[in-house]
């Protein structure tokens, strides 16, 4: 398996605990420190899962507002970054469940390929995410192609691929988060990989 587990960026729990404690008392500056450190990862997740820069931006804000409201429930059992990441995943999945009609309106008919039009996922799309601001790797073209191909995946397949193959969650964890059976998730993951292989082989 080539997926990488969620990164542990600077896992200094004492420093995190101090920041959280300050933020709990209404110290926005302390919370800004947390935001600056974690926003890149939260935004990347939101952008890849939604394939929509505007929605990723809204969701990123929602994630941090929710984190602010829930600081009292953070006990330090997990790392702050992991805690925030879970909030982000839940936020994106919740929004996806409750707002599919809005997403469907955003997809322009001309953006759909004939193949994609045959998929039953309401959120299937061909529009690529906004690529500005990406930390560019060496093989930039390959990775930009991959990000575009991921963005073009049907919603269900994209969700599982991002969570499993990029973020490193296990099927049982994704099953708990999405409410889908592991067998269904596995099938969606395989489908996503197949579509990506085809897209990148063109």
């Amino acid at each position: 398996m080539t997926a990488v587990p969620p990164a542990n960026d600077f896992p200094d729990r004492d420093a995190d605990a101090q920041l959280v404690e300050r933020a709990r008392t209404g110290d926005v500056a302390a919370f800004e420190h947390v935001y600056r450190r974690e926003v890149g990862r939260v935004y990347a997740l939101c952008l890849r899962m939604t394939a929509d820069a505007a929605r990723a931006r809204e969701l990123t804000q929602s994630v941090f507002v929710r984190a602010w409201d829930r600081l009292g429930s953070f006990r330090g059992d997990s790392q702050l970054s992991s805690w925030l990441h879970r909030i982000a995943v839940n936020e994106v999945l919740t929004e996806a469940r409750t707002d599919r009609r809005r997403r469907a309106r955003v997809v322009l008919a001309e953006d759909r390929t004939a193949e994609d039009a045959g998929h039953d996922d309401a959120g299937a799309r061909e529009d690529a995410p906004e690529m500005s601001g990406i930390t560019l790797p060496e093989d930039i073209e390959t990775r930009m192609d991959l990000d575009r191909a991921i963005a073009a995946l049907p919603l269900g397949a994209r969700t599982v691929f991002v969570l499993h193959d990029i973020e490193g969650y296990r099927h049982e964890e994704i099953s708990r988060m999405t409410g889908s059976a592991e067998g269904t998730l596995r099938a969606q993951l395989h489908r996503a990989r197949k579509l990506l292989m085809e897209a990148l082989s063109r």
Partner: protein
Amino acid sequence: MKGEREHIAFDTLNDYADGVLDERSMSIVSKHIESCSVCAGQYSVLRSVLQSAAQLPRTLAPPDDIWAELKESLDRRKEAVLPVIGTGHIVSKADQRSPGATQKRWQSPAFLAVAALILVIVSSGITALMLRDNNAQRLANQYPSVRAPGSAPVPPSVLPVGFTMAEGEYSRAIGELLQAVDAQRSRLSPETIRTVDRSLAVIDSAIAEARNALVADPNNATLVDLLSASYQRKLDLLRRTSELSSRI
């Protein structure tokens, strides 16, 4: 799983790549790939996709102005804070700049109980005054069954479009905080729990009244502000309660 002489099914190839096949199946697939150029080619492309995905950057630079908007939102959420015990005045932003003092006050369950009561009295009093308008009151009486979001499903209504989204956000945040508080009830004294529950009930009542009035008069900006403030009070009370229980 097919035999060695047939091509490997794509699902099996994925399971092989993920390392979730049993030892015997892993061995069969491995041997097959060594001798079958078709499956070897497919597996190579699959591996390439998985490796590329694993190497994608985990962080992407967000738009620069997210924090400015977020900070505004957080500052607004800080506006509705509980009054200082014994004085009844609302805690100012200047007071909030002394987090240590504020924190010590909040560490007392007795303070929370008294402060919550003062909050409820002040907020419900303001709400009652605002709703004393005859028209709003009359219309509010037409919807006696309305309950506040977070404690029961909201009734069918026609609220201003913009506020409907805001209400959804409030409801979601309140629902989560209610769950958090419920999970932490065992940490609070019975007296504090009773006080918090009473306070929530009064705030819910104020929300219901303001909401009814707004349904009847959706263009009334004052009612929008009033309802927003009531939701914010509930959110803040729950947040403070959650923080308190986490410190005990």
